[in-house]
Symmetry: C2
Subunit: 424 residues, 2 copies
Amino acid sequence: MSDLKSLILEYGQRARQAARWLARLGTEQKNAALRSMADQMVARAEKILEANRADLEKAGGEGLSGALLERLALNPKRVRAMADGVRQVALLEDPVGKVIAEWTRPNGLRISKVRVPIGVIGIIYESRPNVTSDAAVLCTKTGNATILRGGSESIHSNLAIAEALQAGAAEAGLPADSVLLIPSTDREAVKHMAEMDKYIDLIVPRGGPALIETVMTYARMPVIKHYHGVCITYVDNEADLEMAVEVVLNAKTQRPGVCNALETVLVHRGIADAFFAKAAGRLEEKKVEVRGDETVRELLARTRYPYLRAVTEEDWTREYLDYIMAAKVVESAAEAVEHIERYGSHHSDCILTANEATAEEFLKAVDSATVYWNASTRFTDGAEFGFGAEIGISTDKLHARGPMALEELTTYKYLIRGTGQIKG
Amino acid sequence: MSDLKSLILEYGQRARQAARWLARLGTEQKNAALRSMADQMVARAEKILEANRADLEKAGGEGLSGALLERLALNPKRVRAMADGVRQVALLEDPVGKVIAEWTRPNGLRISKVRVPIGVIGIIYESRPNVTSDAAVLCTKTGNATILRGGSESIHSNLAIAEALQAGAAEAGLPADSVLLIPSTDREAVKHMAEMDKYIDLIVPRGGPALIETVMTYARMPVIKHYHGVCITYVDNEADLEMAVEVVLNAKTQRPGVCNALETVLVHRGIADAFFAKAAGRLEEKKVEVRGDETVRELLARTRYPYLRAVTEEDWTREYLDYIMAAKVVESAAEAVEHIERYGSHHSDCILTANEATAEEFLKAVDSATVYWNASTRFTDGAEFGFGAEIGISTDKLHARGPMALEELTTYKYLIRGTGQIKG
């Protein structure tokens, strides 16, 4: 066995032991630990920033892009924000121990279905160091042990943050192994984690296609992917035109770099002329490149739209994360549904219409985590749902779909209380 | 691509299309289809029995064991029972479309979390042909398409049953591809199914270690295993002696060949002498082989117990499915919990005690799908839980844990109804 593999196995065993301890803690003990973690993060801010400078220097030397450096960079304000985030989680309701359902059988057996922690959760992520703290504290709050594996660019920052979390946990009497961070940046580490189903109960990968593919290929335990969003909005011929333009603009341009931003707009032929005439100026302000089918190009050409390109088959499945939008004219809501089912990523899709029957049919037919009627897809987010905090947006279908918050970091068990019942 | 792989891909595509259709059906249409399926099964009973005779002849020729032949054999009564089972499922409540939660955000967005079908479910099972019908109709009831892959011993029976189900579905206007059965007995078929995450949303393997291992190794989609039960019962020193003997006897001997039967008993030293003295005669009646530690052997030897053996380390993790029981004397409930966490399979475990505090601590500490206080573990079963029907007992932790019934064959999506909300 390689040294790396034995290290990861050892981490798994340690996390399993810690998880058993964490599962028995009461809410107040867990909250106290979260507060200690926040305190330690503030106390160690200088150490964290120093580690971050080492990461930034290395990244600069390797010629990483400005956007990536921006995601990587910490400053005193960002460290304080991370610590505040931890304190916020301490204030949220604890789902563990809640009775989901309870009933008595004719033979007198009392069955209770209660929320319990999942156990050990592996989080695999890429550049942003704040995920180290965000993910770990949500797992701690729900009584789970965490094994983190961040991107190589942020390894020093991640280690410094994890040390602060561990110090806080230890101070509050929690096992030091409640939060573990894999210190190696070797890509094999992801494979070893994915194969370790004995010690990891769930893996949450947040990242690009290569990372997701590795996890899916090797994982022997449940995986909840936080993958891409090819979010599609359909403008029906019965849409309120003003609203349609506002919502499409918002979904595309309010923050294009996130998974719930719009990537494709489908417009009913009956409203296409009016829609593009009205939208053109607004899209142009934001320099949105429109990749249109023939009709869209014809309509936008009339307005002398400057950022116009022909759409290709590949464009329909692409997540641009940029000021680029694919656009198509369709003949009906049914055709829009067909397009969404064929090309979409089942993340967040929307219909804009004043016709309730058309809307309800769309809501029923589209099989996506979140389906909207007359609102921007940008609301697919734990905070916007009122969940207080989220570990991310699941693009998977089982256990957690869409915003994944505290409740989704728990599972359940059945408790059966009897008086000596035997099966006849 | 091999012929088998392309066949399975084609099945996947057909099932995906059928699933989209099924998801839109109302409860009454699905129930009508189930009734047609039952009718077709009765109408084709002779064909099914003929196919079953072919399987039995082949199995007899290959020298399969009596128990296996018994599981494989159908007769007119068993076919009627299968058809009746299908009609029962038609009477159950349909979880699809149920609103799990609904709330309005301060910005006016109305969020509904509603139950929807999972999509395409792959069921991989071994010898018993009735699983073909039991599994398929539960999936149909919940609006899922099914791809079945049964054991090679029952291939003719399975095909005949699947044909009856397909005829019933077609008669009721459902797509013929709602229920598909892989006609090949090639073991590679399981691998191809497990890799086809584009078209299968969930795989449910029911079977032995080799089958489970293949699925876990190759699966790229969620898997809910129906695997083994190493069920452990702990007799506390404060147990009611009479009740303890009755419950242990029942859990071990009422039907030893099932996953919720007891495999190991742990007895507190303070009651061990009395327990084994009282249990010995009853265990002897059933010819239960006891594999005991030193103390158990000493105690049972006093009663001249005839079926006694020394327990080995391997015995603690074995699922005997037979009149065999591992037994150990422990010093405390805490030691029992440690044993269960270390050796158990987290299926169904039990404490027998009159002390409520001890019981509640045990219920909290044991991380199993079902944890009992003063009742036989044999009640871990969809029918006993009041679920009406079950597709099996999940030994996994996420999405479905323990008895897996109609609700666990669904997932959810969020519907958001707005009035033009955009993100600021």
